[in-house]
């Protein structure tokens, strides 16, 4: 029973990982790609790890899988945040179809005010 359930979780995880990779190819710019990559790949991989835990049970591999879920779900958003911030600061523009960019506006004001004060 647990074995079947674990295999189910692994299958769902693989499907979401696949969608994440598809998004990485189809979406237009780095920010949208990051969205697909972080969301789908985090949950897909966590689901695979949880399936592995269900299949193996409370042995050393299963407990390592559970710990990896915790670490993965804490660190992936931080990594995505760092990449997005770095990309924006190094001047990578949003996709041409983007609607609004308050971050760029605020950064522009910051640069101008620091110029006038110095």
């Amino acid at each position: 029973m647990m074995h079947t359930l674990g295999l189910g979780f692994i299958a769902v995880g693989l499907a979401f990982d696949l969608f994440g990779c598809l998004g990485l190819i189809r979406l237009p710019d780095v920010y949208n790609r990051l969205q697909a990559a972080t969301k789908c790949v985090t949950m897909g991989t966590c689901s695979i790890l949880f399936g592995a835990f269900l299949v193996t049970g409370f042995v050393s591999a299963g407990i390592k899988a559970l710990l990896c879920i915790v670490f993965l779900s804490l660190t992936t958003p931080v990594a995505a945040h760092a990449i997005a911030r770095g990309a924006h600061r190094s001047g990578i523009a949003l996709w041409s179809g983007s609607v609004v960019d308050h971050y760029a506006d605020d950064r522009q004001e910051e640069v101008e005010s620091s110029k006038t004060s110095s």
């Binding site: 979401f16 969608f19 994440g20 598809l22 998004g23 189809r26 979406l27 237009p28 710019d29 920010y31 949208n32 990051l34 969205q35 697909a36 972080t38 969301k39 789908c40 985090t42 949950m43 897909g44 042995v59 050393s60 407990i63 390592k64 710990l67 779900s73 804490l74 992936t76 958003p77 931080v78 995505a80 945040h81 997005a84 911030r85 924006h88 949003l94 996709w95 179809g97 983007s98 609607v99 609004v100 960019d101 308050h102 971050y103 760029a104 605020d106």
Partner: protein
């Protein structure tokens, strides 16, 4: 001192879980390693140890934050999958500003992480002095800062406030 003890115990527990099943040799090395970590980083990691003594906060964390979070993550994944396999690629991306009333580091960190893993949004930068988060939104529904804050952060903000800030004397700041 209590900060160091808490860090030591949690590091030792994580170490023992990684070396499951614990045996005396592993435990000895683990005590040494966790002790080094606690001595070197003692006061940096756990900032407000008195918060850990409230069972109410654990209850809210495990029975209110975690279920809402998991549900939102599931919705986010289905949302992204739908957008990706849709032939027209229905996205209207943009970066919007939202305001938060949270003040403590851990609450803002968890809020930003939750936003990244919930439907259509990803935090790009945090301005801690003005309590502003810049959010990349895959489907911008509002450019107004108040409206966007209501849609994106309010749900998690309420829960995180009861967990990390209520009754700590942090609200008035």
């Amino acid at each position: 001192m209590s900060q160091k003890v808490i860090l030591f115990l949690s590091a030792l527990i994580v170490w023992s879980l990684f070396n499951w099943v614990p045996d005396p040799a592993h435990l000895l090395v683990g005590i040494f390693a966790a002790g080094m970590v606690a001595l070197l980083l003692g006061d940096l990691v756990v900032e407000r140890p008195h918060l850990l003594a409230h069972p109410r906060r654990y209850f809210y964390f495990f029975f209110q934050y975690i279920p809402v979070f998991l549900w939102e993550v599931l919705k986010a994944n289905i949302d992204v999958a739908r957008r990706v396999i849709h032939p027209n690629l229905p996205i209207h991306p943009g970066i919007v500003k939202v305001k938060t009333s949270l003040r403590s580091d851990i609450a803002i960190t968890l809020l930003a992480n939750s936003i990244t893993l919930t439907p259509g949004t990803m935090s790009v930068d945090v301005d801690k002095d003005q309590a502003i988060l810049y959010i990349h939104w895959i489907d911008v529904r509002s450019r107004d800062i108040g409206e966007a804050s209501r849609i994106i952060v309010e749900r998690f903000e309420k829960i995180l406030r009861t967990i990390f800030e209520e009754g700590t004397g942090n609200e008035e700041r």
